[in-house]
């Protein structure tokens, strides 16, 4: 089985990373190599890290409502860093009406409280698999 590298980032100021860490561990237990940036990262820092680590996907978590501004900002930062191809998935306390907007902006999957962890793992696996197929 192929090994996928992913990056979990927490943009914004909220320090509640219980969810982000749970997902990171669950992904590790599902066989991923997970790089965690820690809390309070700017979109540029997350994008630069994703590029240097050559990850196959980026996962973002936000609990303070900052997703609406920060998730798209990470997409922009990735684009600027020449890494538009890296899929970005996001989760946290995200109102239903924001989801279409985030997807339109380019977030490939959005998870809300109560999404089963297996669904999240599968979404990452799929995103990574697609990304690996594109790379040489």
């Amino acid at each position: 089985m192929e090994l996928y590298r992913i990056l979990i980032g927490k943009p914004g100021l909220d320090g509640h990373d219980r969810g982000a860490k749970f997902i990171a561990r669950a992904l590790r237990d599902a066989g991923f190599e997970v790089i965690y940036t820690g809390i309070r990262r700017t979109p540029d820092e997350i994008a630069a890290s994703a590029v240097q680590e050559d990850v196959a996907a980026v996962g973002l978590s936000s609990m303070s409502g900052a997703h609406a501004r920060l998730f798209p900002a990470v997409l922009e930062a990735l684009d600027k860093a020449g890494a538009k191809d890296i899929p970005v998935l996001g989760g946290g306390i995200i109102p239903a009406e924001d989801i279409p907007r985030l997807k339109k902006a380019g977030i490939s999957s959005v998870f809300t409280p109560g999404t089963p962890v297996d669904t999240i793992i599968n979404a990452f696996r799929e995103a990574c698999c697609q990304h690996h197929q594109q790379r040489c």
Partner: protein, 552 residues
Amino acid sequence: MSKQDPALQEWQDNELARTLARFPERKEAFTCHGGRPVERLALPKEIDEAYQDKLGFPGRYPYTRGVQPTMYRGRLWTMRQYAGFSTAAASNERYRYLLDQGQTGLSVAFDLPTQIGYDSDDPMALGEVGKVGVAIDTLADMEILFDQIPLDKISTSMTINSPAMVLLAMYIVVAEKQGVKAEQIMGTIQNDLLKEYVARGTYIFPPRASLRLITNIFQWCSANAPRFNTISISGYHIREAGSTATQEVAFTLANGLTYVQTALDAGLDLDVFAPRLAFFFNASSNLLEEAAKFRAARRLWARLMKERFQAEKPSTMMLRFHTQTAGNTLTAQQVDNNIVRVTIQALAAVLGGTQSLHTNSRDEALSLPTEDSVRTALRTQQIIAHESGVADTVDPLAGSWYIEELTDAIEQEALDLINQVDEFGGVVACIENGFIAGQIEDAAYQYQQQIESGERVIVGVNEFQVDEDVEVPVMRLDPAVEDEQVRQLKQVKAERDQEAVRQCLADLENAARSDSANLMKPVLAAVRAYCSLGEICGVLRGVFGEYRGRAW
């Protein structure tokens, strides 16, 4: 009959008699439906040594049964609900309304930039200004926040940690401008920085610098503001981060011991500052375990204070605490179920002898609560207080084999864990080497895995679901709030005496560089000169450096 027991008699003649003389009970007589009297304190047939050693009498070492002799028969716990508002003006309006309604305590929540020491115009603050509480940049904001509120009459609780010194200084200066002296102000700052590194995440500086700030505050306040509680040692967030009940007790008390040791090292008098230490715990859903947890924490703290620091004065050994029901147990599914959860949790806190209580609102999992749900949350407390009867007798669960076994077990396990932390070099070392965070994360992971696998049932989430649209309400904040806050900050910065600002910040930097200086004084001066929170914390960031969390 045990009622003639000499030990009991002695307690009745001393602690109880003194308390009754000063604070009569709420009612002449407490009775069940039908008139049967409710005993103040149920006791075993025989008051033997084992009983005295483990449980004793309320208001007496080891305080297992409570810190006051009559507990809620004398006075109910304080029902304290807080909420965050985006601007100082809006909060001020709300506070004045609450005070008109007879409330005597205020509670302030700050937005994240304030909690992390950034001004509202800092790039890091973008999109977060006024979001989870009020934004405070300079003394000007604090003046608006407490406008026409008499700071000699009310007590204010501020949920602030890393920049606690700055906010406290602003509070003191506002009081000063009202003609209220520092020695008159009352309230609490959370100021518990150690738990930020392992749980809550609003740290700024490295642990050692944080301990210095805390000690400086202890020192200054014990001399100048003796009625102010200088810390609230918080297990709440440790639990929210996923710890077990035992870990919550262990790590919170370990933090407490660290503060005590640091203060003693700085030459403070144990019996002066220890009675000012307040604790803050979480009440989760396992009713009996939680009730036992509070009892165990109380006994363990008293023992630790006595054995490690030779404390003798009762108020030095007493663990007094505030409780909040567990936010992490609230579900987005079938939100009304949360009212039931909160009821059980609040009941645990009361059965465990809490001094004050915040009950979460049913919709608090996902957003700021509505007014209706805040009322229901408060009513929950009132029903427990006035209808359930559990407040009419002291420590009603005592003597249950299960409860006493649990209390013993939690105490022992927590003590073992505290000893382990000591072995690994103490709390600061265990923050840095990841031991504490690792323990919490392992527990959180296991718990969540049990939910995912269905081994642990969460009603409405992994069982008993209904078809419903889980509504995550929108918490969009008017962007004008941020713009206005930034505009005001710019104005304050433009109008102040720039030379004074420069001087104050330079003085602060010099003081910070010398280990022996107390930073309260230069911070008070800086605040008076309208230096901003971001500028002050910026200077300290420059001297102390910034802490970076660890991944696992």
